[in-house]
């Protein structure tokens, strides 16, 4: 009898505890459900419909996806996005890691250098991009003036040239973002125990040896985190493109999110744009999954 009652009150208490916990989560979850989860399901549904935002929706099955495979603009956008990700992610990662290790060593004025490296990330995108466009002006920008001075008479036309536009964009992204990831790496570096370096010193490891065999393995969780965030961030790039090239010249820097926006809010083809969003979602999902699996395998070793 007594145990029964005890069990009951225990159950009650547990339920109460759970309810309290849920009620704490609720505000955030409700927000998430209304502004994120709902729209996601709505977008998935839209992908199988034709809708212009005003007239009635019509169900068209897989037509949007079929159309996508024959659409040159989507193909261009997909290809450009992949090129952008493949170029930006490793470059940013390498630069951030390099800066972090450099600015973790005891050099004079390292706080100043850290601030300088972090500055592009803090500065307003609009202002920075405007200045960047002036510096890389195809005709009378300082960069090209310098290039001409050192004997390159026909310097690249940067954002104005379809061959160089993507390069310019990647360069800008790396420069703008590396400071942020540097800070994450710096935080990670603080967690690497001095003892490991001492031990490595005893074993006669040089600078590179210490980097490869101590720093890098110790930073693995941080690197994984940076890699994930960076990849996802790069897939969803829009603002940089808008500020630097407006997807041009032609479609040479047209990326998926840019095309999604155009299809949705210029052409009012909401169903089709949702279908392209699904393509982006699938792409990010696959890449992230692969990274997760790779990481698991890595740590198990």
């Amino acid at each position: 009898m007594e145990t029964q009652m005890k069990r009951d009150s225990l159950k009650k208490r547990k339920l109460k505890e759970r309810l309290t916990a849920y009620s704490f989560i609720a505000p955030n979850f409700i927000g998430f459900a209304i502004f994120t989860l709902g729209p996601i399901f709505f977008a998935i549904m839209l992908a199988f419909h034709q809708w212009d935002g005003s007239n009635d929706m019509t169900f068209i099955g897989l037509d949007n996806f079929r159309e996508m495979f024959g659409d040159d603009r989507v193909k261009d956008a997909l290809w450009n996005t992949i090129v952008y990700v493949l170029a930006t992610v490793p470059l940013t990662l390498a630069c951030a890691l390099f800066l972090a290790t450099l600015l973790n060593s005891k050099i004079k004025g390292r706080n100043i250098f850290r601030t300088i490296a972090f500055f592009p990330y803090v500065a307003s995108l609009v202002a920075v991009a405007a200045v960047w466009n002036m510096i890389f002006h195809p005709v009378n920008g300082p960069i090209n003036e310098i290039l001409r001075m050192i004997g390159i008479l026909d310097p690249p036309r940067w954002a104005a040239d379809s061959e160089w536009a993507m390069f310019t964009l990647v360069l800008f992204s790396v420069w703008k973002q590396m400071g942020y990831y540097m800070v994450i790496f710096l935080a990670g570096l603080q967690g690497v125990s001095e003892e490991l370096y001492e031990a490595a010193n005893l074993d006669g490891a040089g600078r590179w040896g210490k980097f490869w065999h101590v720093t890098l393995p110790q930073l693995r969780p941080v690197t994984f985190f940076v890699l994930m965030i960076l990849t996802i961030n790069s897939f969803k790039v829009y603002d940089f493109v808008y500020m630097i090239t407006q997807a041009g010249p032609g479609t040479s820097t047209l990326v998926l999110v840019y095309e999604i926006y155009n299809t949705a809010f210029l052409n009012w083809n909401l169903g089709y744009s949702s279908a392209i969003s699904m393509l982006l979602l699938g792409l990010v999902l696959i890449v992230t999954l692969v990274q997760f699996l790779g990481e698991k395998k890595f740590t198990n070793q």
Binding site: I34, A43, R157, D161, G250
Partner: protein, 430 residues
């Protein structure tokens, strides 16, 4: 993921807005108990556009208890913002300014504008010189032209005088114009000792493409754009020879066409008639370098009638969500009618109704060039729109912008760029 989320949230908000809007429609009414009504007019550039206020004042003076509020949605993405507002079921907006043809077709495709043919039964549509027909779909139109600007060739008389070259003539062809640009650029650069450009193409596609349709044989919604080939050949070679400024630099430096012309180193520039009051004002206020200027008719191509030019149309419609449709239409009729045209013309701006009286008003405003030819330049025979009405107008606009961009930045050969555009437009039609 942020952008994506934001986008999805946008779609969600949109649908939420639709639901809320649907609820709202049954309820509130702008007509208050004392009979006062407020109409909301969506537009852009309230600050710099001089005729909005006088129009509103004139209308309010005739209608007791009616207030017209201006809702400025910004100039750059006006049509996008407007489209989102109206799609969301916004019933605050009563009177809709339609900026261009892609905007018009996008709004009508989505049934966001009220059909007007029945309401406008008593209006003499002939006074709009055929422009209403250009926006008529299946015998129905959803907006009435308020302003019809067309392109004229502005030229800097001082530069021509210094160069000793004769001013541009009404009725010259694009080939003549090409020669003239090269001539004046060379001679003026020599006599002034600094670089003078013979012409100026602003970064809009229409600056080059419009010439191609002046003979009325083709429109810019086409499945074969090869007719633009000769025009682009000339424009690109002018750019290569530095007769005009480089497209890519203009684009990256975001140089406004007015600023380019004010610098007194550009001899000619094709620009819309909306630039007339702006230029007058800039010269008298000192924003621009001081020089004499004149206008000539837009150069034409072989087979085009003299006085043919390209144009844009700004029209007014009534939102189908509006709760004061009758009154809103009254406002539309007032602004687009003879009375509104006078008010607009008083500010030096060209209204849709271009009677002799209106043209006289504009040419007699102080600062308008005094020579006969500049006055004649305002007489048009055919005005072709930058884009004809088409259900795919906004897609075609994107395609044409991209090919223009590709060609002018030398990213593609002219013929390949045009072929590519033709293929993409054909694909839309399937």
């Amino acid at each position: 993921m942020n952008n994506k989320k934001r986008f999805l949230a946008g779609v969600g908000l949109l649908s939420a807005g639709l639901m809320l809007g649907a609820c709202g429609n049954g309820g509130s009414d702008d007509a208050e108990a004392d009979g006062n009504v407020t109409l909301t007019w969506s537009l852009w550039d309230t600050e710099s556009t001089v005729y909005y206020e006088p129009l509103v004042e004139a209308f309010e003076a005739e209608h007791d208890g009616v207030t017209v509020e201006l809702l400025d949605l910004g100039s750059t993405d006006y049509q996008t913002v407007l489209g989102t507002q109206l799609s969301g079921g916004d019933n605050k907006i009563d009177i809709v300014t339609v900026k261009d043809i892609p905007g018009y077709s996008s709004l009508t495709n989505r049934n966001l504008l009220e059909p007007l043919s029945e309401r406008a039964q008593d209006v003499d549509l002939d006074q709009y010189a055929g422009t209403v027909e250009q926006i008529t779909i299946d015998d129905e139109f959803y907006a009435v032209p308020m302003r019809n600007d067309f392109y004229v060739l502005y030229y800097n008389k001082s530069i021509f005088d210094d160069a000793g070259v004769e001013y541009p003539q009404n009725g010259m062809t694009y080939e003549d114009y090409d020669q003239l640009m090269r001539d004046v650029s060379e001679k003026a650069t020599e006599s002034r000792g600094e670089k003078i450009y013979g012409g100026h193409y602003h970064v809009w596609r229409s600056q080059v493409q419009l010439y191609g349709i002046l003979d009325g044989e083709n429109t810019l919604v086409s499945e074969d754009y090869s007719f633009l080939d000769p025009i682009y050949e000339m424009a690109v070679s002018q750019q290569e020879d530095e007769i005009v400024q480089d497209y890519a630099s203009l684009k990256t430096s975001n140089l406004h066409y007015s600023a380019a012309f004010y610098q007194d180193n550009v001899a000619t520039m094709l620009m819309g008639t909306w630039f007339i009051p702006t230029l007058q004002e800039a010269i008298s206020s000192g924003e621009s370098q001081e020089f004499d200027w004149g206008i000539a008719k837009m150069p034409i191509i072989d087979g085009a009638e003299e006085g043919s030019t390209g144009g844009t149309m700004t029209s007014l419609g009534v939102s189908s969500n509006s709760q004061n449709k009758d009154l809103a239409y009254e406002f539309v009729e007032f602004v687009t009618g003879e009375e509104g045209a006078q008010v607009i013309a008083d500010t030096g701006t060209i209204p849709a109704i271009q009677s002799d009286e209106v043209i006289n008003k504009i040419t007699s405003i102080e600062g308008f060039p005094e020579d006969e030819q500049s006055k004649e330049a305002l007489e048009t025979t055919n005005v072709y729109l930058e884009l004809p009405l088409d259900e795919n107008a906004s897609e075609v606009e994107t395609i044409l912008n991209e090919s223009h961009d590709n060609i002018m930045t030398y990213s593609t050969e002219i013929s390949d760029g045009l072929k590519n555009a033709s293929e993409q437009v054909s694909a839309l039609k399937e």
